[in-house]
Symmetry: C2
Subunit: 369 residues, 2 copies
């Protein structure tokens, strides 16, 4: 079930069992400090997204640097955080299943929790769960600010849902969830600016219409690592939900004017077969490193590409065969996409200056429900 950790404190990095999820602690802490420094002079706070890291240990490090809480996408993630001491958790997603809502309500003794709705069905389900648990649950209205996935249209539809929530004696209206997911990976600053500009217009208008009805938004939440500087500039959002900034990945690296963070997350792999010149096979396939946003990069080996992923193997190729890592050598892969890569692993192996410093469980890994 839980896999044994692939390393022990004090080991040299090249001794770590592969594949392993490696966290470069210097780069990681730099990223946390950098985000704190960017947000400090603004009116917005960080509510970091734990769908990326799935770890109360990392959540508490973010909160020590000023984050006011965490976002999650799943009740199982909320449980892992609350059990691990995180005091303020927003499920930035719809939850409509009664069993899940009962579990969420059961966390209220440990943490302040809130959840989103984008329709009457969801609001009624949360209301029933709150009534059954004998407490008031906080609900945000999710608006579709451009991503085209969940969320009602900004404006009157959102206002009607907010009034429905505020009018329930089992619910508290908590504000707006307004996240533009696809804009995070638009390649140019102009594309991102345009998308978030439109998102800001709809969000600002909805906040204003709510205010006219006497409904204040305690939370106006959204933004991710790719666009948060745009949301900050708009002045509309008061909570920033970036998650990937702590780790980064190859896909964010492909954005023009990429965000000012360092790559701290790697999958350590070993060349375990090199049967022909020009080919090195590593023991990290797509069960160990997510390829939904493209293959990983091979860190520190210029000219070497990760040319093919199968379940448990990756094939490395190079025009110049002498550029390839040699049989037995361990290599750091930069994941194409950090969130699902973390979700494949049970342990973070924290390294600093070539030595294993700590092992942290990926406590909410899977988080299936």
């Amino acid at each position: 079930m839980l896999q044994a950790p692939p390393a022990e404190p004090g080991m040299r990095e090249e001794e770590v069992d592969t594949p392993a999820l490696l966290l470069d602690l210097d780069a990681f802490e730099h990223n946390l400090d950098t985000m704190a420094a960017i947000l400090a002079p603004t009116g917005a706070k960080l509510r970091a997204h734990a769908k990326t890291h799935k770890s109360p240990i990392i959540a508490l490090q973010q909160m020590k640097r000023g984050a006011i809480g965490q976002c999650v996408q799943k009740v199982a993630e909320a449980e892992a955080l609350a059990w691990g001491g995180v005091p303020d958790i927003l499920v930035s997603n719809e939850v409509i299943a009664p069993r899940k809502l009962a579990r969420l309500a059961a966390l209220s003794g440990l943490a302040k929790v809130a959840v989103c709705a984008d329709g009457e069905h969801g609001i009624a389900a949360i209301e029933s769960a709150a009534e059954a648990a004998g407490l008031r649950m906080t609900v945000l209205v999710e608006i579709d600010c451009g991503g085209g996935r969940c969320g009602v249209a900004p404006g009157p539809e959102a206002v009607a849902l907010a009034e429905r929530i505020a009018g329930s004696r089992h619910l508290i209206f908590g504000g707006l969830q307004s996240y533009h997911g696809s804009a995070q990976h638009y390649r140019t600053p102009a594309q991102r600016q345009q998308a978030i500009g439109a998102a800001a217009d709809g969000t600002r208008r909805t906040v204003e219409q709510l205010r006219q009805r006497g409904l204040d938004c305690a939370i106006v939440g959204g933004a991710g690592t790719g666009t948060f500087r745009n949301e900050l500039a708009s002045g509309v959002w008061n909570e920033i939900q970036a998650g990937s900034y702590a780790f980064m990945d190859a896909d964010y690296g492909r954005n023009d004017d990429p965000p000012p963070f360092r790559q701290s997350l790697f999958v350590l792999a070993q060349v375990m077969s090199a049967p022909r010149p020009g080919l090195a096979v590593v023991d990290a396939g797509h069960k160990a490193v997510a390829i939904d946003s493209g293959p990983p990069l091979v860190h520190g080996f210029p000219g070497v590409t990760y040319a093919g992923a199968s379940d448990e193997h990756g094939t490395l190729k190079a025009e110049d065969p002498s550029a390839l890592p040699r049989l037995g050598q361990s290599v750091r892969l930069v994941p194409g996409h950090c969130d699902p890569t973390v979700d494949r692993h049970d342990w973070y192996v924290g390294v600093r200056k070539g030595r294993v410093e700590c092992l942290w469980p990926v406590a909410a890994r899977g988080g299936m429900a």
Copy 2:
């Protein structure tokens, strides 16, 4: 860490927490029986691949129907099987890391184990581990029979490695590993026949050259769900390593003349947002269902496609909006690729005739090292 199971025995399928890994037990048992019936009149035995199911419970059900053992790709998978009572395990892959080989040797008291090598580096590493553990380890030579990944060329190179193994007092030569991975998904029977025909030629030639040197192959292993009928017809292989046949997936379903098995594996998801006509959003994204071989199919909803996967969401679309499942409804998704989908989950939810019958842990999930 280990997630709580998403169901309880006796529940109706629509009450299961989503996303969940669903196993239709009637179809699953049909598949196991069908494979046993196909192999019974042949000279070959099934050594089913546990990289697919990662469960000693399923392994033992395969063995009750005649399978002589299991294959794995990872030492962690071998451990989960040996600890769960599986008596005969082949690591159908290279392992060269000393810590992993020591763990593999440590299983020898529980199970018969064997491992592959495709070069002197690997053989020497296994020899050292065997000597340190005070036992003889069985090693197969992996040949590249066309897949272009691990394995030495058939013929003299393979024979030299076999002689090196047989000449070591710490090792036993166990035979040949000859698996053509990419051929499993060639779309036409003619393509598959051609690829396996060539693989059979090289394998047969190598077996013969070994015999001339006095080296018998106890195991000539290979084949997968897409091609095993070709390997059987050749008469060259004596062990068939199919894994997916127990579950099937959308990608195997796209093969012409697909293998004679039923879809038994599903990811159960719930429509948790339906904010606009023509859109239904389910709570299974690519963290819950693998998309490396294409998106899942939506079972039982003709005209409905799984149009987009993000981390925790899937968007369902249909030309006729009335064809979409409704908000709150649970739907069975047919994974594009079964192996990595299983690896995302902690529990199989076994269902029969609409009721949950059993819960089985995915014991070797992750199997990171």
